[in-house]
């Protein structure tokens, strides 16, 4: 079977064996995958599958094989989207070897998946991961006995601490040596094979476990029990959680903002003292476009990468330590009353970094009502791109003390908007989905692990942002400088005309024509709002010059109204695109955009008019 796809699409490579990693969630499967492949994986577009699978070429003692990481599943017969993906994959792709990854300390229930794979008749081997945890919790496994009873090779490894990986590679090579190239098989009648053996499965598990595994007489993970007593405390659990979150954000911005300022000063210097002289002989239109447009736009975003990196680093610690699932436990009662669940809360929290991965994360939900409602509230999470705008505006219009309060208020409003939205629309997107989540033991995250992940997230962000900045900067440039001969960004330019056109709508909320243009571009991405403002105000020399220009024309009340609108309306085009692809509904996507615009306008209107009545100017 051969496939023909463009360069990005990856499928079986002829002559190379196909090895897939199958395992339950929470078994360290992705850690194992990245350790085996040294993180050279890329995302392959598999025909017929709607999700992206990680794939990498692996050199095993001279033989090249393709390694594919399948999504974590609980049950080959399960009903979740991921479980269907794995079934479709096994039915449509010839596989030479299945690497079954199990959490050694939970072999009492995970063995089931190994038995299911064996039932399919595919060549397989078993890697018992998290050997360190099994030892800690007192689970003893007789590997030879287990291998004999399963009739599969069994190895004990710890991917996190890189133990047993060389042996695992060797075992994969050996298992593959038995099958000639091109011997890979697709599974026929997968459902029927599994259904036929379902009852025997439970009966088969008991004797195997009894013969090969010894369990501790008592629960040994005293640390998790002790921590949970406090962290899941009925009264103290939530306050502790919010305190941890507050400290985390504090630390991120205490470290990140100085780094951001230093980097932005560096880029500024580069643009003024290196780039500007170098471009002096170019036509002024072109050189201005490069220095004021491109470099400014790219500079604004890259200055902001350290904060994003730190954010994902912190998020990685919270997630890998096991605390994130505790957050779901703590918040579930509240979220249930909003028609959501603990997972929606965790995803919204991730949305504070970037809305796009958070919306992708709703895939774990099966009920479409729950997914849609979660997608509707996630865009209200104050993402790091918006924070960038707010940090700047707050520094221009307020003292540091007031500024911190304003930012805190915006965070509260972000929660408020999400809660209001959920309450208003929970009836329309009702769900009956049950919630069963694992609470893994507390674990110490390792630095390479979270470092690698944060790095990948930043690269991903940069990839998205770059495209939008180019697009946005060119767009702003054209709007400001067309028709030919007008003064840039003047009332006669296209952007000036657009601003005037929208005045009847936006004047009541205190947004002047220039701010309007910034908002229009903020629709593409919040990353370009500041760069856009700089171009519009013709103050591209430095951010403090932009601050002065802004403050001389805009009152603080207008500035707050602008921030409120920026917080609540559509976060960016990529979020809209992801909502569209994930919900697969155009109507819902439009509704989501429209609702956020209406809410943004109403909130800004109320604030601006009230402030006016009170006499704040």
């Amino acid at each position: 079977m051969t496939h023909c796809l463009d360069s990005a699409g990856v499928v079986p490579v002829s002559g190379q064996a196909m090895v897939t990693v199958v395992g339950m969630p929470n078994t360290g499967k992705s850690t194992l995958f990245s350790q085996l492949t040294a993180a050279h994986a890329h995302i392959g577009n598999w025909p017929g599958l709607t999700v992206d699978l990680l794939q990498a070429e692996l050199n095993l003692e001279g033989r090249r094989v393709q390694l594919v990481d399948l999504p974590g599943i609980y049950d080959l017969r399960g009903h979740s989207e991921d479980e269907a993906v794995v079934r479709r994959f096994l039915e449509s792709t010839p596989v030479d070897l299945v690497v079954i990854t199990l959490n050694a300390s939970q072999i009492d229930r995970q063995l089931r998946l190994a038995l299911q794979v064996r039932q399919l008749g595919l060549p397989a081997l078993v890697l018992l991961n998290m050997a360190d945890e099994a030892r800690r919790f007192g689970v003893g496994i007789d590997l030879d006995e287990l291998a004999r009873r399963l009739e599969l090779p069994v190895l004990l490894i710890s991917a996190k601490y890189r133990q047993g990986l060389a042996l695992a590679r060797h075992a994969i090579t050996k298992a593959l040596a038995a099958s000639p190239p091109g011997a890979g098989r697709m599974v026929l009648d997968l459902e029927a094979k599994l259904a036929a053996a379902d009852d025997d499965l439970a009966a088969a598990m008991g004797p195997i476990l009894q013969a090969a595994v010894t369990f501790p007489a008592q629960w040994r993970d005293a640390l998790t029990r002790r921590l949970d007593r406090w962290l899941l405390h009925p009264l103290l659990g939530l306050p502790i959680f919010f305190l941890v979150m507050a400290l985390m954000f504090q630390a991120i911005y205490a470290l990140g903002v100085p780094m951001q300022q230093a980097l932005s000063a560096l880029i500024d210097h580069f643009s003024r003292f290196v780039l500007a002289p170098a471009l002096a002989s170019w036509p002024p239109f072109l050189s201005a476009f490069i220095t004021d447009g491109l470099v400014l736009g790219i500079g604004t975003v890259s200055a902001f990468l350290p904060v994003i990196f730190l954010f994902f680093l912190a998020m990685g610690v919270v997630e890998d330590s096991g605390y994130l699932s505790r957050a779901a436990f703590l918040m579930d009662a509240f979220m249930e009353r909003l028609g959501l669940d603990g997972r929606s809360f965790v995803l919204s929290l991730m949305g504070f970094g970037c809305n796009v991965p958070a919306i992708l994360g709703t895939r774990v939900m099966r009920s479409s009502g729950l997914r849609l409602l979660s997608m509707l509230i996630i865009p209200f999470s104050l993402c790091s791109a918006r924070l960038n705008v707010f940090l700047f505006m707050a520094s221009v219009f307020f003292t540091p003390r007031q500024g911190a309060l304003v930012i805190f208020g915006l965070y509260l409003l972000s929660f408020g908007a999400a809660i209001l939205t959920a309450l208003l629309f929970k009836g329309r997107f009702a769900s009956e989905e049950s919630l069963v989540l694992e609470l893994p033991p507390y674990r110490l995250p390792t630095l390479p692990q979270i470092w690698g992940r944060a790095w990948a997230e930043v690269r991903h962000f940069w990839f998205w942002a770059r495209r939008f900045i180019l697009f946005g900067v060119v767009g702003i440039w054209l709007l400001n400088n067309l028709p030919f001969g007008v003064a840039p960004a003047s009332a006669q330019s296209l952007s000036g005309q657009l601003g005037e056109l929208l005045q009847p709508l936006l004047a009541p909320i205190g947004i002047n024509p220039r701010l309007t243009v910034a908002l229009v571009f903020g629709f593409i991405a919040k990353e370009i709002v500041l760069g856009g403002l700089a171009v519009i105000y013709g103050q591209t020399a430095s951010s403090s010059a932009l601050g002065h220009a802004l403050a001389s024309e805009v009152s603080w009340v207008q500035a707050v109204s602008f921030m409120l609108f920026t917080l609540l309306y559509t976060p960016c085009l990529s979020t809209v695109a992801v909502i569209r692809t994930e919900s697969k509904r155009l109507g819902f996507t439009l509704f989501s955009v429209l609702w956020s615009l209406v809410l943004a306008w109403l909130v800004s209107f109320c604030f601006y008019q009230l402030a006016w009545l009170v006499g704040w100017r």
């Binding site: 399960g78 009903h79 229930r109 919790f137 899941l232 009662a333 249930e336 919630l435």
Partner: protein, 69 residues
């Protein structure tokens, strides 16, 4: 001890994969505030479960002196 699972097939698959099946003993570690989820230990696994779903798992007490809920 779990006696029976009175749940739809999708949830039954998930529960069984997590170790909740007839004959298996489980331990309630805590109940969440404001009728929040229940924190359970099943074998070597800890998990959370909403009360509405937990109510569909029929159990009997392993300790004969206590009545089944």
């Amino acid at each position: 001890m779990v006696a029976a699972l009175a749940v739809e097939p999708g949830l039954r698959h998930r529960l069984e994969a997590l170790g909740i099946k007839p004959g298996q003993s489980l331990k309630v570690l805590r109940r969440g505030w404001w009728s929040g989820p229940i924190h359970l230990q099943v074998g070597m696994t800890e998990l959370m479960l909403r009360r509405i779903d937990a109510a569909r798992i029929q159990v009997f007490s392993a300790d004969p002196s206590r009545a089944a809920p």
